[in-house]
Symmetry: C2
Subunit: 129 residues, 2 copies
Protein backbone atom coordinates (compact mmCIF):
# COMPACT_ATOMS: atom_id res chain seq x y z
CA UNK A 1 0.00 0.00 0.00
CA UNK A 2 2.77 2.39 0.92
CA UNK A 3 6.04 2.33 -0.97
CA UNK A 4 9.16 4.34 -0.45
CA UNK A 5 12.49 4.52 -2.18
CA UNK A 6 15.66 4.20 -0.15
CA UNK A 7 17.77 5.96 -2.75
CA UNK A 8 15.57 8.92 -3.40
CA UNK A 9 16.93 12.33 -2.49
CA UNK A 10 13.71 12.89 -0.56
CA UNK A 11 14.04 11.99 3.13
CA UNK A 12 12.22 8.84 4.15
CA UNK A 13 9.82 10.53 6.54
CA UNK A 14 8.90 13.04 3.87
CA UNK A 15 8.20 10.25 1.43
CA UNK A 16 5.99 8.63 4.02
CA UNK A 17 4.07 11.82 4.63
CA UNK A 18 3.63 12.24 0.90
CA UNK A 19 2.38 8.71 0.49
CA UNK A 20 -0.10 8.89 3.33
CA UNK A 21 -1.43 12.22 2.14
CA UNK A 22 -1.90 10.64 -1.25
CA UNK A 23 -3.88 7.78 0.27
CA UNK A 24 -6.01 10.30 2.12
CA UNK A 25 -6.58 12.31 -1.02
CA UNK A 26 -7.61 9.38 -3.16
CA UNK A 27 -9.94 7.89 -0.58
CA UNK A 28 -7.97 4.76 0.20
CA UNK A 29 -7.84 5.95 3.79
CA UNK A 30 -11.06 7.21 5.31
CA UNK A 31 -11.83 9.01 8.53
CA UNK A 32 -11.63 6.57 11.41
CA UNK A 33 -9.37 4.10 9.67
CA UNK A 34 -6.50 2.80 11.71
CA UNK A 35 -2.97 3.15 10.46
CA UNK A 36 -0.54 0.33 11.01
CA UNK A 37 1.48 0.50 14.23
CA UNK A 38 4.79 2.23 13.81
CA UNK A 39 6.72 -0.97 14.43
CA UNK A 40 4.80 -2.94 11.87
CA UNK A 41 5.00 -0.35 9.14
CA UNK A 42 8.66 0.24 9.89
CA UNK A 43 9.29 -3.46 9.66
CA UNK A 44 7.34 -3.83 6.44
CA UNK A 45 9.30 -1.02 4.84
CA UNK A 46 12.62 -2.06 6.32
CA UNK A 47 13.19 1.22 8.11
CA UNK A 48 13.37 2.42 11.69
CA UNK A 49 10.27 2.91 13.80
CA UNK A 50 11.34 6.45 14.62
CA UNK A 51 11.08 7.40 11.00
CA UNK A 52 7.52 6.16 10.83
CA UNK A 53 6.70 7.81 14.15
CA UNK A 54 8.01 11.08 12.83
CA UNK A 55 5.81 10.92 9.77
CA UNK A 56 2.79 10.13 11.94
CA UNK A 57 3.61 13.02 14.21
CA UNK A 58 3.90 15.48 11.36
CA UNK A 59 0.55 14.41 10.03
CA UNK A 60 -0.89 14.60 13.51
CA UNK A 61 0.46 18.11 13.89
CA UNK A 62 -1.40 19.27 10.84
CA UNK A 63 -4.58 17.66 12.02
CA UNK A 64 -4.89 14.74 9.65
CA UNK A 65 -4.17 11.93 12.08
CA UNK A 66 -4.85 11.38 15.75
CA UNK A 67 -2.35 9.34 17.72
CA UNK A 68 -2.50 8.27 21.28
CA UNK A 69 -0.12 6.19 23.30
CA UNK A 70 -1.10 2.65 23.79
CA UNK A 71 -4.02 2.86 21.41
CA UNK A 72 -2.67 3.65 18.00
CA UNK A 73 -3.11 6.04 15.15
CA UNK A 74 -6.29 6.78 13.27
CA UNK A 75 -7.38 9.07 10.49
CA UNK A 76 -8.91 12.21 11.96
CA UNK A 77 -9.59 14.18 8.82
CA UNK A 78 -8.87 13.94 5.14
CA UNK A 79 -9.10 17.63 4.41
CA UNK A 80 -6.21 19.90 5.01
CA UNK A 81 -6.08 23.63 4.91
CA UNK A 82 -3.15 24.93 2.98
CA UNK A 83 -0.84 27.44 4.58
CA UNK A 84 1.10 28.65 1.59
CA UNK A 85 0.34 31.79 -0.32
CA UNK A 86 -1.66 30.88 -3.40
CA UNK A 87 0.82 32.30 -5.88
CA UNK A 88 3.78 30.38 -4.54
CA UNK A 89 1.69 27.31 -4.13
CA UNK A 90 0.51 27.38 -7.70
CA UNK A 91 4.06 27.67 -8.93
CA UNK A 92 5.17 24.83 -6.72
CA UNK A 93 2.38 22.61 -7.99
CA UNK A 94 3.19 23.42 -11.59
CA UNK A 95 6.87 22.76 -11.10
CA UNK A 96 6.29 19.45 -9.41
CA UNK A 97 3.87 18.31 -12.05
CA UNK A 98 6.08 19.42 -14.92
CA UNK A 99 9.04 17.63 -13.40
CA UNK A 100 7.10 14.45 -12.96
CA UNK A 101 5.88 14.53 -16.53
CA UNK A 102 9.30 15.35 -17.94
CA UNK A 103 10.70 12.52 -15.89
CA UNK A 104 8.21 10.14 -17.39
CA UNK A 105 9.21 11.20 -20.87
CA UNK A 106 12.88 10.82 -20.04
CA UNK A 107 12.15 7.33 -18.79
CA UNK A 108 10.95 6.46 -22.25
CA UNK A 109 7.20 6.53 -21.81
CA UNK A 110 5.34 7.88 -24.78
CA UNK A 111 2.62 10.44 -24.65
CA UNK A 112 -0.24 7.98 -24.70
CA UNK A 113 1.15 5.97 -21.83
CA UNK A 114 1.58 9.06 -19.72
CA UNK A 115 -1.91 10.26 -20.50
CA UNK A 116 -3.23 6.90 -19.41
CA UNK A 117 -1.38 7.04 -16.11
CA UNK A 118 -2.64 10.54 -15.44
CA UNK A 119 -6.19 9.62 -16.31
CA UNK A 120 -6.16 6.61 -14.04
CA UNK A 121 -4.87 8.59 -11.09
CA UNK A 122 -7.34 11.41 -11.67
CA UNK A 123 -10.15 8.92 -11.73
CA UNK A 124 -8.97 7.49 -8.47
CA UNK A 125 -8.71 10.93 -6.91
CA UNK A 126 -12.19 11.91 -7.99
CA UNK A 127 -13.81 8.66 -7.16
CA UNK A 128 -14.56 7.26 -10.57
CA UNK A 129 -14.21 3.55 -10.62
Amino acid sequence: MITISLNSPIPLHDQLVQEIRRLLADGTLKVGDELPPVRQLANDLGINLNTVARAYRELTDCGLLATSRGRGTVVLSTIEKTTEKPAEEKKRIETTLSSALADAKIAGLNRKEIELLVLRQLNKLWGVS
Copy 2:
Protein backbone atom coordinates in the same frame (compact mmCIF):
# COMPACT_ATOMS: atom_id res chain seq x y z
CA MET B 1 13.83 30.02 -16.40
CA ILE B 2 15.00 27.88 -13.51
CA THR B 3 13.25 28.03 -10.19
CA ILE B 4 14.03 26.28 -6.96
CA SER B 5 12.46 26.23 -3.55
CA LEU B 6 14.57 26.84 -0.50
CA ASN B 7 12.17 25.08 1.83
CA SER B 8 11.62 21.96 -0.17
CA PRO B 9 12.81 18.70 1.35
CA ILE B 10 14.62 18.03 -1.90
CA PRO B 11 18.25 19.17 -1.78
CA LEU B 12 19.01 22.25 -3.83
CA HIS B 13 21.41 20.55 -6.21
CA ASP B 14 18.85 17.84 -6.88
CA GLN B 15 16.23 20.41 -7.64
CA LEU B 16 18.63 22.05 -10.04
CA VAL B 17 19.36 18.77 -11.79
CA GLN B 18 15.65 18.12 -12.05
CA GLU B 19 14.98 21.52 -13.49
CA ILE B 20 17.72 21.36 -16.07
CA ARG B 21 16.69 17.88 -17.15
CA ARG B 22 13.19 19.21 -17.58
CA LEU B 23 14.47 22.03 -19.79
CA LEU B 24 16.39 19.48 -21.83
CA ALA B 25 13.36 17.26 -22.15
CA ASP B 26 10.99 19.97 -23.28
CA GLY B 27 13.38 21.45 -25.81
CA THR B 28 14.05 24.75 -24.07
CA LEU B 29 17.70 23.80 -23.99
CA LYS B 30 19.18 22.42 -27.21
CA VAL B 31 22.47 20.76 -28.01
CA GLY B 32 25.20 23.39 -28.09
CA ASP B 33 23.39 25.89 -25.89
CA GLU B 34 25.46 27.48 -23.19
CA LEU B 35 24.37 27.32 -19.59
CA PRO B 36 24.85 30.31 -17.35
CA PRO B 37 28.15 30.45 -15.48
CA VAL B 38 27.96 28.92 -12.04
CA ARG B 39 28.45 32.26 -10.35
CA GLN B 40 25.73 33.96 -12.30
CA LEU B 41 23.16 31.24 -11.82
CA ALA B 42 24.06 30.93 -8.17
CA ASN B 43 23.63 34.64 -7.77
CA ASP B 44 20.33 34.69 -9.59
CA LEU B 45 18.98 31.93 -7.40
CA GLY B 46 20.52 33.27 -4.23
CA ILE B 47 22.51 30.14 -3.50
CA ASN B 48 26.15 29.15 -3.37
CA LEU B 49 28.16 28.58 -6.53
CA ASN B 50 29.25 25.18 -5.29
CA THR B 51 25.70 24.00 -5.34
CA VAL B 52 25.32 24.99 -8.96
CA ALA B 53 28.68 23.51 -9.82
CA ARG B 54 27.62 20.26 -8.24
CA ALA B 55 24.48 20.10 -10.33
CA TYR B 56 26.48 20.82 -13.49
CA ARG B 57 28.97 18.13 -12.58
CA GLU B 58 26.28 15.53 -12.01
CA LEU B 59 24.75 16.30 -15.37
CA THR B 60 28.19 16.22 -16.95
CA ASP B 61 28.84 12.84 -15.39
CA CYS B 62 25.80 11.36 -17.06
CA GLY B 63 26.75 12.84 -20.40
CA LEU B 64 24.20 15.59 -20.77
CA LEU B 65 26.47 18.57 -20.32
CA ALA B 66 30.09 19.31 -21.18
CA THR B 67 32.01 21.60 -18.90
CA SER B 68 35.51 22.90 -19.23
CA ARG B 69 37.48 25.21 -17.05
CA GLY B 70 37.65 28.76 -18.24
CA ARG B 71 35.23 28.18 -21.06
CA GLY B 72 31.93 27.28 -19.54
CA THR B 73 29.22 24.68 -19.73
CA VAL B 74 27.28 23.65 -22.81
CA VAL B 75 24.61 21.12 -23.64
CA LEU B 76 26.21 17.98 -25.01
CA SER B 77 23.16 15.78 -25.45
CA THR B 78 19.52 15.85 -24.60
CA ILE B 79 19.04 12.12 -24.56
CA GLU B 80 19.88 10.09 -21.55
CA LYS B 81 20.04 6.40 -21.17
CA THR B 82 18.35 5.15 -18.07
CA THR B 83 20.20 2.91 -15.72
CA GLU B 84 17.37 1.64 -13.56
CA LYS B 85 15.64 -1.65 -14.04
CA PRO B 86 12.44 -1.05 -15.98
CA ALA B 87 10.14 -2.45 -13.29
CA GLU B 88 11.46 -0.26 -10.52
CA GLU B 89 11.59 2.68 -12.82
CA LYS B 90 7.97 2.32 -13.83
CA LYS B 91 6.91 2.19 -10.21
CA ARG B 92 8.98 5.24 -9.40
CA ILE B 93 7.44 7.17 -12.26
CA GLU B 94 3.95 6.20 -11.23
CA THR B 95 4.54 7.12 -7.63
CA THR B 96 5.98 10.49 -8.50
CA LEU B 97 3.16 11.29 -10.87
CA SER B 98 0.49 10.15 -8.46
CA SER B 99 1.98 12.21 -5.69
CA ALA B 100 2.14 15.29 -7.85
CA LEU B 101 -1.47 14.89 -8.90
CA ALA B 102 -2.69 14.23 -5.37
CA ASP B 103 -0.77 17.26 -4.24
CA ALA B 104 -2.50 19.37 -6.82
CA LYS B 105 -5.86 18.18 -5.61
CA ILE B 106 -4.92 18.85 -2.00
CA ALA B 107 -3.91 22.35 -3.01
CA GLY B 108 -7.46 22.91 -4.12
CA LEU B 109 -7.17 22.62 -7.88
CA ASN B 110 -10.12 20.98 -9.50
CA ARG B 111 -9.95 18.25 -12.07
CA LYS B 112 -10.27 20.51 -15.08
CA GLU B 113 -7.48 22.78 -13.93
CA ILE B 114 -5.16 19.86 -13.39
CA GLU B 115 -5.99 18.39 -16.76
CA LEU B 116 -5.18 21.70 -18.36
CA LEU B 117 -1.82 21.90 -16.64
CA VAL B 118 -0.97 18.38 -17.71
CA LEU B 119 -2.03 18.99 -21.27
CA ARG B 120 0.01 22.12 -21.53
CA GLN B 121 3.13 20.45 -20.23
CA LEU B 122 2.66 17.43 -22.49
CA ASN B 123 2.31 19.73 -25.45
CA LYS B 124 5.53 21.43 -24.50
CA LEU B 125 7.31 18.14 -24.10
CA TRP B 126 6.17 16.87 -27.46
CA GLY B 127 6.73 20.06 -29.35
CA VAL B 128 3.17 21.16 -30.02
CA SER B 129 2.82 24.90 -29.90
